[in-house]
């Protein structure tokens, strides 16, 4: 049995959609056991809506909730009985194999480091969301909160990201690229220039060189290595440009009668396009380099994203991904 601890109280749609996603996942694999952590009464009220195998779902009570706006370090230290802290302790103590939350990104990252714990030898623990491209998805590593990384950090990101894409996403020999402002080897800022030769020398990754941000949406690399400040800018701009453009297109189409009729006719086709660019299809963002997998889903995650995140954890555990990451620092 693969045991997955889920923060039932995190995110905009908790506990309703979180519980629904957990129940939905049970049908997909026989070897999943879900541990829902949160306010017992609220979680049980949601569970009572469903018929499911009770031996595969347990509830662990936690009386507190960490809100999105709270300073992460203080929240983790002070709210010892929060769903996030209690669930991460289950992972630390070996009572669960992985952890999923739609709650505060900062608290998840801090808790990951302080409670779940870093693998010895791993310098930083990057947050690595999958971003949709015209070819599928790429892993953007790092989009976390620790900015101003060093070259050796980026090398570890590249190696962990490559393992993740190979093991969990089943991409053979993942193409690893580093974000730069030109295709030529001599371009870039000090960090990229120092990192480039180190990546080139890595024998365990398929390094393809510089990736310009213009080519990211076209799937220029499977693993896109960058420092967290730039990664954050990329991730959020990706979402921003996409949503602004789609909302303008909708508005534009619906601005007159002819357009409205046309819009009805293309609606189904456009839904397919939007689905292709929907990040929630890929579950949540893994936080790598910890002793167990921690997954951060969107704050707005619905049952589908939670279900996909659970499958992501199962794939991660089944592929013995942690052993492989351990091997790069041993």
């Amino acid at each position: 049995m693969i045991k997955i601890a889920i923060d039932a109280m995190g995110g905009d749609n908790a506990p309703e959609k979180i519980v629904q996603g957990a129940i939905d996942s049970l049908a997909l694999r026989e070897n999943i056991h879900i541990v829902l952590v949160g306010k017992e009464d609220a979680v049980n009220a949601e569970l009572s809506k469903y018929q499911y195998d009770r031996s595969r779902v347990s509830v662990v009570n936690a009386t507190e909730v960490i809100e999105t706006g709270e300073p992460p370090v203080a929240a983790i230290r002070e709210k010892k009985d929060s769903s996030l802290v209690v669930a991460q302790k289950l992972v630390r103590d070996g009572e669960a194999d992985a952890f999923i939350s739609s709650g505060s990104t900062g608290a998840i990252l801090v808790g990951g480091q302080l409670i779940v714990g870093r693998i010895k030898g791993i310098r930083r623990t990057p947050l690595a969301p999958l971003i949709p491209t015209t070819k599928g998805a790429s892993l953007l590593i790092d989009c976390g909160a620790n900015v101003d990384a060093r070259p050796e950090d980026l090398v570890q990101f590249a190696r962990m990201g490559s393992i993740y894409m190979e093991r969990v996403c089943k991409v053979k020999k993942p193409r690893v690229g580093i974000v730069n402002i030109g295709a030529e080897e001599e371009k870039g800022n000090a960090l990229v220039k120092e990192t480039f030769p180190l990546l080139k020398a890595c024998e365990d990754i398929n390094f393809i060189g510089n990736v310009e941000s213009r080519d990211i949406p076209y799937g220029a690399a499977d693993v896109i290595v960058t420092e967290a400040f730039v990664g954050n800018v990329i991730l959020k701009l990706y979402e921003g440009v996409g949503s602004a453009l789609i909302s303008e297109i909708k508005k534009g189409m619906l601005s007159n009668l002819k357009g409205k009729l046309g819009a009805l006719m293309v609606k189904k086709n456009l839904k397919g396009v939007v689905k292709k660019f929907d990040a929630s299809e890929y579950g949540g963002a893994p936080m790598l380099g910890l002793k167990a997998l921690v997954v951060k889903t969107h704050g707005s995650a619905t049952e589908k994203e939670i279900k996909n995140a659970i499958m992501q954890c199962v794939d991660f555990v089944e592929a013995k991904t942690i052993d492989k990451i351990n091997a790069i620092v041993s």
Copy 2:
């Protein structure tokens, strides 16, 4: 008369579209004089296609052309008779008030510094394209080639960008923001953290604080200040996500008969949306902090972008923008 020197040989559509754009601009204002710099025969051949006031257009011969792939510094030093170098020298010598090129960005930037020359006291000369938003356009400063800027550089970018938006784009009290990975004042990398209080203390700009990249497409600020590596990533990702999404939408709509019919009906409306997000509507990217205005248009610039870039130069000169920039360092 405002004299504008144009590199007639730079870019994918030179000299044909460059000359056409120059001729088109003459009808818009009476006080423009265009100096076309390039291979005399080729330029004259293009000019012979039009009827125009010959007293307002002159041709200066230059026998060489700097290609896009050439290392910029070597190209500027060695190709003394290139259209780019000859035209920039006209600006340096006061024989033209501004310079426009669709050629190599690197060579334009290097030439700007070495030939046109930096204003005394200006530390760096940023490239600041206007990027389209749902509300109009924002100035993204810096997208140039000089990465790893210091806080004092960013402060000058903010002040010059604010002057540009106010004088040339007629935005009253332009809102100046700094690119960051969170809205809170304490967030960011070392550079942003050091720059934030300096910007806050500037009395001559309307500083509105941090801007997250997600909000850039929605017009979160009129002047978006960032270091050139991040600026480059933003600019190119902006273009990449937009073009990838639009091509997927087209493909999606045309994938079956019903969609094709619908596409015909929404075509006109969608053109309006695409036009709104078309950067060439705003002319080219100004390079600021030089003794005169240097404008870099897209390599693929057509007559419309050239015409708009000429109007941009006229507005810049008429608003005495250089005097205003001079004032911040005197």
